[in-house]
Symmetry: D2
C-alpha cells in the first residue's frame, strides 16, 4: 500500500490531535515532517510518533518534494499565506478553521487553490462525529421530512484566556463558527439571515476585550427553515454539544457523549457521570474520521467533504452574527458578501 506523505505545520494543541490520529487510525498516510516556530514542540511531537524530520521553517515542509499534502494547524493569521504557498507548490491542503478572518483574504486563498487544482479541505471535524453524522443521514434519507426547525446547543466548559479572544476574532468566529458550519451541513441549505442576541454574563473581562460569552442566534435558511444556536463560554458541568432537527415527518436529537453510562441510586437521588468534558475527548472519533476522510479524498481522487466554500460561508455567517449583535437587528448574509 502506497502511503500518502504528509507535512504538518503547527505542533500546538490541534496539530498534536491530527498527528496522533494519523499515527493511530490512518495506516494509509505517513507524516514526514513537522514545522513549528517553537522547535521544542516540533521535536517532541515528531519523536513521540517516530516522525523523521522537524523544523522551525514551514517552507521546508511546503517545499519538501516528497510531501504530497500539507496539514495547516498554525495560528489563523498564517493560514491564507500557507494555503497559497502550498497550493503553488502543488500540495493538497487540509486547513484548520477558520481559513481567515477576512472574506477577501479567504477568497484569494481559495482562488490559489482553484488555480493549482489541488485538493482542499477545512477542519470542521464535528461533521465527522458519529452522532451528528447519524442526524445528517436521517435528514438526507427523508426521515425528518421538510426541515422546519434546527436547534444547536454549544457550550464550552470554560472561556479561553482573554488574550486568545482578541486573536481569535471573538466568540462567533472562534467557537460558534463550528455551529454555523453544522447548521449549514445538517439543514443542507444556505443561511440567508442572522439575528444575534448576546451578552457578557460569564466574565466582565471578556466584555472589556470587546467580546461576548453568551448568545442566542436565530438563523433563517434559504429553504425556509428556522434555526437557533445557544452558546455559553462556561458550562460548569462541562462541554455541552447537542442538536435537534424538527420537520414535517418527525424530530431527531442527539445528546452528549459520556465516559461511561453508570446510574447510581442512593437515598439522595439518581446520579450519573458528566459528559466528556474536553473537546479532544468528546471529538476523538470525529478528528480521526476527519483525517481519514481527507486522506480518502486524496487517494480516491474525489472531492473533499468540507470545501473551501464551506470555510468561507461559515466565516461570513459569523460576521453577520457579529454585525447583528452590534447593530441590534437581523442581518442578511448578502450584506456581508455577494
Amino acid at each position: 500500500m502506497k502511503k500518502i506523505k504528509i507535512g504538518v505545520i503547527g505542533a500546538g494543541r490541534i496539530g498534536k490531535v491530527h498527528v496522533a490520529a494519523l499515527a493511530q487510525s490512518v495506516p494509509a498516510a505517513e507524516v514526514l515532517m513537522i514545522a513549528d516556530t517553537d522547535i521544542k514542540s516540533a521535536r517532541q511531537l515528531a519523536e513521540k510518533y517516530g516522525i523523521a524530520k522537524w523544523t522551525t521553517d514551514y517552507e521546508k515542509v511546503i517545499q519538501n518534494p516528497e510531501v504530497e499534502a500539507i496539514i495547516i494547524c498554525s495560528p489563523t493569521d498564517t493560514h491564507a499565506k500557507y494555503i497559497i504557498e502550498a497550493a503553488q507548490a502543488g500540495k493538497h491542503i487540509f486547513c484548520e478553521k477558520p481559513i481567515d478572518l477576512s472574506i477577501p483574504v479567504i477568497q484569494s486563498a481559495l482562488e490559489a487553490v482553484k488555480k493549482a487544482g489541488v485538493k482542499f479541505m477545512v477542519g470542521f471535524n464535528r461533521r465527522f462525529d458519529p452522532n451528528f453524522q447519524k442526524v445528517k443521514q436521517m435528514v438526507v434519507e427523508g426521515k425528518i421530512g421538510e426541515t422546519h426547525l434546527l436547534k444547536i446547543t454549544s457550550r464550552d466548559p470554560a472561556p479561553p484566556p482573554a488574550e486568545y479572544s482578541a486573536v481569535s476574532g471573538g466568540m462567533f468566529l472562534d467557537m460558534t463558527i463550528h455551529d454555523f458550519d453544522m447548521a449549514r451541513y445538517i439543514v443542507g441549505s444556505e443561511v440567508v439571515e442572522v439575528y444575534t442576541k448576546a451578552a457578557v454574563l460569564v466574565d466582565p473581562e471578556i466584555g472589556k476585550a470587546g467580546d461576548v460569552d453568551t448568545a442566542i442566534i436565530t438563523l433563517t435558511f434559504a429553504n425556509g427553515a428556522l434555526g437557533v444556536i445557544d452558546n455559553s463560554r462556561k458550562a460548569v458541568y462541562g462541554y455541552d454539544q447537542r442538536l435537534e432537527v424538527f420537520g414535517t415527518k418527525g424530530m431527531v436529537n442527539v445528546d452528549n457523549n459520556f465516559p461511561e453510562n453508570h446510574k447510581y441510586y442512593s437515598s439522595h437521588g439518581i446520579s450519573g457521570s458528566l459528559p466528556l468534558n474536553f473537546f479532544m475527548d468528546r471529538y476523538t472519533q470525529s478528528y480521526a474520521n476527519e483525517i481519514i476522510a481527507f486522506c480518502d479524498s486524496l487517494n480516491k481522487k474525489v472531492d473533499s467533504i468540507v470545501s473551501g466554500d464551506d470555510g468561507l460561508k461559515s466565516v461570513a455567517i459569523a460576521m453577520a452574527a457579529k454585525k447583528s449583535y452590534l447593530e441590534k437587528r437581523p442581518v442578511k448574509l448578502d450584506e456581508i458578501y455577494k
Copy 2:
C-alpha cells in the same frame, strides 16, 4: 368542612376540565351552577358531576348569592365583562387565559378586581405541572446560580381550525402565551425585549388567515438572562413540552411525560412510546393542582399564585412578539405599554 361554593361560566373543553378536577380532586369545593350559551352542554356537564343547576344566563351564576367564586371558561372576548360583573358582585374570580386581547381592556378589568378587593387568578395551569414546578424550585433554591439561558420547546400536535386562529388572536396570543408566562415564572424576572422570527411552514391556510405556525422567539430579561422559545403548530409525534434553564451553577431540564416507559429492543432498533399527546392528558395533574391552588388561596385568604398582572404581562409579551414579527426587529416591552 365548609366547602367553597363555585359557579362556572362556560361548559366547553376547558370548562369540563375544571369541573372534573373540582369533582375528583378538590373535596374543599363544590360547584353549584354552570352557565353556557348552549344549554345542552351546560346540562350534560352538570348531570355528569351531580351539579344541581345549569343555565344559559351567566348573570344567574354571578348573581347567585350562594356562589362565592366564579370560574370563567367562556370565549376570550367575554372574559373582561364577566370579570367586572363578578368583581362588582363580590365574587372571587378564576379566569382562563388570556384575560383579553387588549391591554386597556385587561387593565380596566383588573381595576374592577382591585376595587372590589376580591381574589383573582389567571389560568396558567402549566405553572402547576410537577416538572416545571421542580425546575422553578431548583431556580429558587439557587441550584442554577444566576440564570443565563432559558429554553422552552412548545409544539402542538396539530393546528387548531383556521376559524379559531382568527378569534384567538393568533399563535402568540393563544399558544405561545403559555410559554411567555412560563418564561417569566421560571426566570423570575420581567421580559424587556422580544425578537421573533416566524414563518408559515405547516399550512398555507394559516398564513392566509394572517397567522404563523412556526417561530423562534428570543427573549431578554431584566436580570440580563436570555431566553428562547421554539414553537410549531404541528409535531407529528405529538405534544412536545420541554424546558431547560442554564446558569452559573448548572443546568436543569425536563422532558415530556409518557403513558408508560417501556423500551422495546428488536432487530430493528430500540423503541418506546410517544409522549402523552393531548394537552388534557399531559396536564391532567397541573389542571388539578391549579384549581386546588385557587381554592387554597380562597380558604387561606392568601394571594393567588398567578396574578392579574401575570395575565396582563403575558399578553403584552405576546403583542411584542407579534409586533417584532411584523416589523422584523427586536421590540422592547415598553413599546407595548408602560
Copy 3:
C-alpha cells in the same frame, strides 16, 4: 346509569385505597357501607367519602340486601370466611391477596364461589399498572416471539414491622406473591418449578422471626421459559419495581415511575429524582384501573380478569419458594398441590 352497590369490609390501608379509587374514578359504582372492627376507622373513611353507613359488624355488610358486591380488605385470616359467607349471600366478591395461607382453605372458599355462581376477583393490582400492561400486550401481540427469559426486580423501601412478618406468612407469601402472579400473567404459562436462594442481609431480627429479606428465585415455566425474581426488603433509594421479558423476537423492559423527570447537571455530575417511593403513589393508577375492571366485570357480566385460580396458584408458588429455600433444592409445583 344504574350504579353497582358495594360494601367494603376493612377500612385499613388498602381499604382506604379502594374506597378512594371508587369515589374518584368509578362513577359506575357506589359504596353503601363500610365495616371495620375499629369503628373509628370505619366512620372516618365513610365520612370522608360521603358513605351513609358504617359498622363494626361485617355481617351487616354481607347481609345488606342492597349490596351487590363485597370488597374484602380485612386481615388475611378472615378472607376465606368472608368469601364463603358473601358467596352464600349471592354477592360478587373482590378479595385482597393472598386469599389465604392454606391451599385447602383457599380451595374451599373458591368452591363456595363456584357453587354460588358469583363473580370473584383477587387483588393483584399490579396487573393493571400501565407499564406492566404494555409489556403484557406486547407479549400477547407476539412482539417478543417465544418467551425465553423473564426478569422481575421487586424491592421494598423498608421492611414491615417484625410482628407483621409473622402474620403475613413471610416475604414469599406477602411480598413476592405479587411477583409470582406477575410472572404467570406476563409469561402466560404456569410455573412448574421453583428454586430459591435467600438470605437475611437487611436485618437479623427478620431472621429471628423465621423470615428472609433478600432472595433470588428461579422459575421454570410449563412452556420452557425461565424466570428470575430478585427481592430485597430494603432499597434505600425507594420502591423498585422493574420487569424485563426476552424472547426470540426481541426484549422489552419497563422502569420505575418518577414524580417528575428533571435532570440536573452541576459540576458534580448529573442527577435526577428517585422513583415514587410509596406503593400507593407508585400504583395509584393500577389500583384505580383494578377497581374499574372489577366493576366492569360485574356490569358486563364477563369473567373477572384475576380469577380465584390465579389467587390459588400464586400462593402455591410462594409455598414452593419457601420449601425450596428451606430444603435447599428446586421444588416442583406438583409437590405443593395437584
Copy 4:
C-alpha cells in the same frame, strides 16, 4: 523509551485484536514475531502492522531471546503447554481465557509460572471496560455499602457454530466464564455455591451437541451476597452486556454501549440505535486497556491485575455451573476443587 518486546502465538480473531491494540495504543511495546499454524494468517497480520517476523513454529517465538513476553491466543487446548514452555524460557505471559478446561492442568501450568517467577495475566478483558470499572470503583469506594445482590445480563447476538461448542467446553466455560470472572471481580468475594437452571431454547442442534443456550445461574458469595447471571446465546437485538449491584447504601447499574445516541420521534413512536453488536466493537476500549495494563505490569514490575488464580477460579465456577445443571441441584465450589 525502552519498548517491551512481545511475541504473539495465534493470529486468529483474538490475536488480531491484541496486535491491533498493541500497535495503536501501546507505544511502550513492540511485537517482534507472530506464530500461527496457518502461515498465511501469521504473515498477513505481521505485514499489516509492520512486524518483522512470522512463523508456523510457536517455539521460535518462545525461544526468541529478544522476546520478553508472550501473548497466547491459540486454541484453549494448547494454552497450558505454551504457558509452561514460555515460563521455563523466562518469558512473561499473557494468556487468553480459559487457561484450560481441566483444573489439574491449570494448576500445573500455574505451578510452572510460579517456579519461573515470571508475570502472568489472564485475558478477562471486560474488567477493563470503562462501565464495569466505574462499578468496581464505586463498590470499592463504599458507595454501595455491603453488597447484597449482583445481577449480570450477558447475551450473545448469535450462537457460535455447533462444532465450536464442543471444543470450547460449552456455554458455561466459553461464554459465562466472563460473567463468573466479572462476578468475583465486582463483588470482591469468592463464589462458594452455584445453582444453574438452563435450557435449549435457541437451537436444538446446540442441545444435540450436549450444550445449552439459555441459563439463569444463581451465585452465593463467601461474604453472603447473592448473585444472578442470565445468559442467552441469541439476542436478536445484538450483544447485551449489563450489570447491576445492589447493597445497603444504594444501587448502581450500567447499560450497553451504542454507536451513537440519537433519538428519533416520528408518528410511530420514539426510536434509537441498537447497542454495539460485535464484541470487538463493544469491548474495543477494554481490549486496549487490558493490553496496556499487562505492559504496565511488566514495566512497573508490579503484579498483573488478573492473576492465574483468577483464571483457575472462573473455570472452577463454570464447572460447578455445569455440574449443577446436570445434577439439578446447588453445587458448592469445594465439590469442584479444594
